[in-house]
Symmetry: C2
Subunit: 238 residues, 2 copies
DNA sequence: GGTGATTAGGACCACTCGGTCCTAATTTGT
DNA sequence: ACAAATTAGGACCGAGTGGTCCTAATCACC
């Protein structure tokens, strides 16, 4: 039985297989390498929460979804529904970081091209649920930002990490951009437009809404490109 | 005792004062001229729902907020919590139509200038709650679009009426706009950006987020303006 | 093979949920 | 003034809610 440090939390290595259990105090933005059962519960909860929201997903629903035997079986793995929610959020961000945000860091592609590819990826990710099921972050944000400070700060952190990825991409692309481009503002605009687009798409049950907004968003970004630098649509004002 | 038709619903006129009770079947988009008690309940519910969401607002909370005596007192005025939710949504749209959308129709102002003023109005409306409390439509959309079809179609209708106002403004402004401007797409983009901005603002608890996105959105709209036409001054040709 | 930790399982708790029922007070039209 | 309609009030319901407790079964390890 040994100890090691991963990210911020202390884990205790137990038994066979790769089942790790965190026993240190929970900190923000921790993603555990969990036992299979934990993963199973987390996956079931993620689906349910993204379908019906956090408050409307009961612990019993999660238990049913993860095919657990009973309440205490669940509470053996998670100390509360709240903690479950936090970890689901973390896992979903990690998933998004792998499948979406990663594009922003591809070193071999032109940064502005990467930004377009990232927008395409968001559209593609949304298409997987057929236009339903918005961004898990946007959903939780709308549901809990006012009511639950714990979730609010965690969602804020998610958006911040997302924005910072875009900011560093814009920094990388700065030779191609107008001098007065405000990376902070532009990164926020991109995220807001995408989150709003996903929301509208969900309400209208029509993926073309997202596609249209994504196309417009690309044009807006192109507006910030220097007249000389090639990126087809240069009708820059100012 | 008399009968008359207002909007879509049949009302029965009772007693003194202006207390009207709908007795016809409920249809979409009906706004009742209600008894004072109904208004009182609706107002309390609107506050609570915008603070904590629909599912997290209990009927008992509403009763407490509206200072009613008990459950059946509430159920005397509303046949269900769901119906209450629908009417709150309608009232909130009506309020938004009066205080926000109305600007889009001001006949004496240049249409594109009106659009900017409208965006300012959205920022101002949001400022009233100090950056908390998002658009009531966006909140309900995120919370219920997947889970509750009844709400979904009503929220869709709200966004559609909003979009159509913007579309007709853009139609009015078409002499000043590029020929290839797609009014449907642009109107959706504006709404999505604003809804996304309000959401981000709420998460970050920072009004400047909304202000920045609003400024960028104006620049995006300006991108569609013909090179010759200046937006500020009324140069509209009909 | 026994022992201590881990995993399962079920009964149960106090409380809240949306909603109903039934009766008393008040207001209404005549 | 009086009966009918409306408004108010409280007790109550069955089904959930998040969460605890206590006991079996299973497991790793000496």
């Amino acid at each position: 039985m040994g100890w090691f440090l991963e990210r911020v939390a202390v884990y205790k290595v137990t038994g066979s297989e790769n089942s790790l259990l965190r026993i240190g105090p929970p900190g923000p933005n921790i993603l555990l390498t969990m036992s299979d059962r934990r993963t199973q519960i987390l996956d079931a909860a993620a689906t349910l929460i993204s379908e019906r929201g956090f408050t409307s997903t009961s612990v019993d629903d999660v238990i049913k979804g993860a095919k657990l035997s009973g309440k205490s079986h669940f509470y053996h793995y998670f100390k509360s529904k709240e903690e479950l929610g936090y970890e689901v959020l973390n896992r979903q961000f990690e998933r998004f970081a792998e499948r979406g945000l990663a594009i922003l860091r591809e070193p071999m592609i032109d940064p502005l091209e990467r930004l377009n590819l990232f927008i395409d990826a968001v559209v593609a990710l949304q298409s997987e649920s057929g236009g339903r099921r918005g961004s898990p972050f946007g959903n939780l944000a709308a549901e809990l930002a006012d009511a639950h400070e714990g979730f609010r700060v965690r969602i804020e952190a998610v958006f911040e990490r997302w924005a910072s990825q875009i900011r560093s991409l814009l920094w990388e692309a700065r030779p191609q951009l107008h001098d007065d481009v405000d990376a902070v503002r532009l990164s926020r605009f991109i995220i807001a437009a995408l989150e709003g687009a996903v929301l509208m798409t969900r309400v209208k049950r029509d993926l073309s809404v997202l596609e249209g907004i994504a196309a417009d968003l690309k044009r807006f970004i192109a507006m910030h490109v220097r007249d000389g630098a090639a990126m087809q649509h240069n009708r820059a004002v100012e």
